[in-house]
Amino acid sequence: MWKWLHPYANPETTYHLSDRVIPWFGWLSGSLLTIGLVWALLFAPADYQQGDSFRIFYLHVPAASLSMGIYLGMAIAALCGMVWQLKLSDAAVAALAPVGAVFTAIALFTGAAWGKPMWGTWWVWDARLTSELVLLFLYLGVIAINNAFEDKQMAGKAASIIALVGVINLPIIKYSVEWWNTLHQGATVSKLGKPAMSLEMFWPFVVCFLGFAFFVATVTCIRFKTEILLRNSSRPWVKNLMLEQAK
């Protein structure tokens, strides 16, 4: 079953593959985001309770779900690296972590910005916001450990271990934070109810979400390429590539 994957364990093949898919992902992402955001911000109906401030939803929710999705993807890459000793997995972990961290930060920032009109304050210790904050810490841990080692191989392995430990802990942390939140539920904080979503709101959301997802794919592939080059800088194919590009 893993045989067909084998050629992609070769850094050179994978490098050229990501090189080829980047323009596709880039164009898809660009067009989907343009359509989606214009649709969502200008044409989709405003929420009957929250008015136009609801529109930040189109940015906040994709960012939040992608931030968790990226962490999961990173952990899967880390697991593959541990089990099959794939060196490229380390590169994938290193490539994904900063992207995920930025999306987590976006989710936090938009969450806070959404909170201001809704709750009247920038920050509440809402369960979802708190989990998102912890997720940011976990990402920063992976990035920090990846930067702390001088040797790229070791850095990748260390980051993979932390990513795996993090992904096992993430559900526990999420559950405990939710439980903590219900325990300390203050009277002043009205929990943000799930907006009843009409189809007119749903479709622009899907387009936005896909746009952001392809954006993540594009950026990750670009970073992945760089990581592959960094890890193989002493290999002849990288040297040839550099010479070609220098012409």
Binding site: E150, D151, S234
Partner: protein, 230 residues
């Protein structure tokens, strides 16, 4: 230019090779490659370490001698390639391999808070020689009367002797010794050399690095040269 030559490894052991053609291969590396900090230390290294061999890994500082020994011991992973012990990949039989391995690195692994005897007893037990006579072994390495001294109060050479005392007990097939003579006086060096020879004669295999000239019959020692590569 040496660094343009892919075949950096020259295994000068004609005599031994002829002598031991039929000898049992204990350890074998297959296409071993090591990359540290983007520098290729060695590439496609294929070496066999046989019963009765004494192999001195030689080369300038930074050529990858310690890296090679650590990879052989299974402490570090090679970038590519495998190591086989008795024709099987060591990663698939780690416990068996470790039972047959004695590795003494740069650092003696001696705790300064424990006495010489406590240290040696711990190290022996850890490798399955729990019921050996640590006091007698310490006497063998010239640490008679120092058994109860804290290792922290002993000199660097004495600390190394504590670790080296394991050589007087170990019957592991493969010994990997990284600079065993550091901080050891001339008499001690001689005793260790004799021990190494004895082990090889008894069917062991010794892989070591040292910057000193080995004072052993030259037909018994083969050299594995590692070049510094850029």
């Amino acid at each position: 230019m040496p660094w343009e030559n892919n075949n950096t490894i020259e295994f000068i052991s004609l005599f031994i090779a002829l002598q031991s053609l039929s000898a049992q291969i204990y350890l074998e590396t297959k296409q071993l490659t090591c990359i540290k900090q983007d520098r290729i230390l060695f590439e496609d290294l294929n070496v066999q370490f046989r019963r009765g061999d004494i192999i001195q890994v030689a080369g300038p500082n930074g050529a990858g001698k310690t890296s090679l020994l650590r990879i052989l011991a299974g402490l570090a992973q090679p970038y590519e390639g495998t190591i086989e012990f008795d024709q099987n990949n060591i990663n698939e039989q780690l416990e068996l391999y470790r039972q047959n391995l004695l590795y003494l690195g740069h650092l003696p692994g001696v705790k300064s808070e424990l006495t010489a005897q406590e240290n040696l007893e711990f190290q022996l037990s850890l490798h399955g020689y729990g019921n050996s006579d640590a006091e007698a072994l310490l006497a063998d390495v010239g640490l008679l009367a120092f058994e109860q001294s804290l290792a922290g109060q002993l000199s660097a050479g004495q600390n190394r002797r504590i670790a080296l005392a394991q050589l007087w007990q170990s019957n592991a097939k493969v010994w990997i010794l990284d600079e065993p003579f550091t901080a050891i006086d001339a008499k001690g060096v001689e005793a260790i050399e004799q021990k190494i020879l004895e082990h090889a004669n008894n069917g062991g295999c010794v892989i070591l690095t040292t910057h000193q000239e080995l004072n052993l019959p030259s037909n018994r020692v083969s050299r594995l040269e590692l070049d510094y590569r850029f």
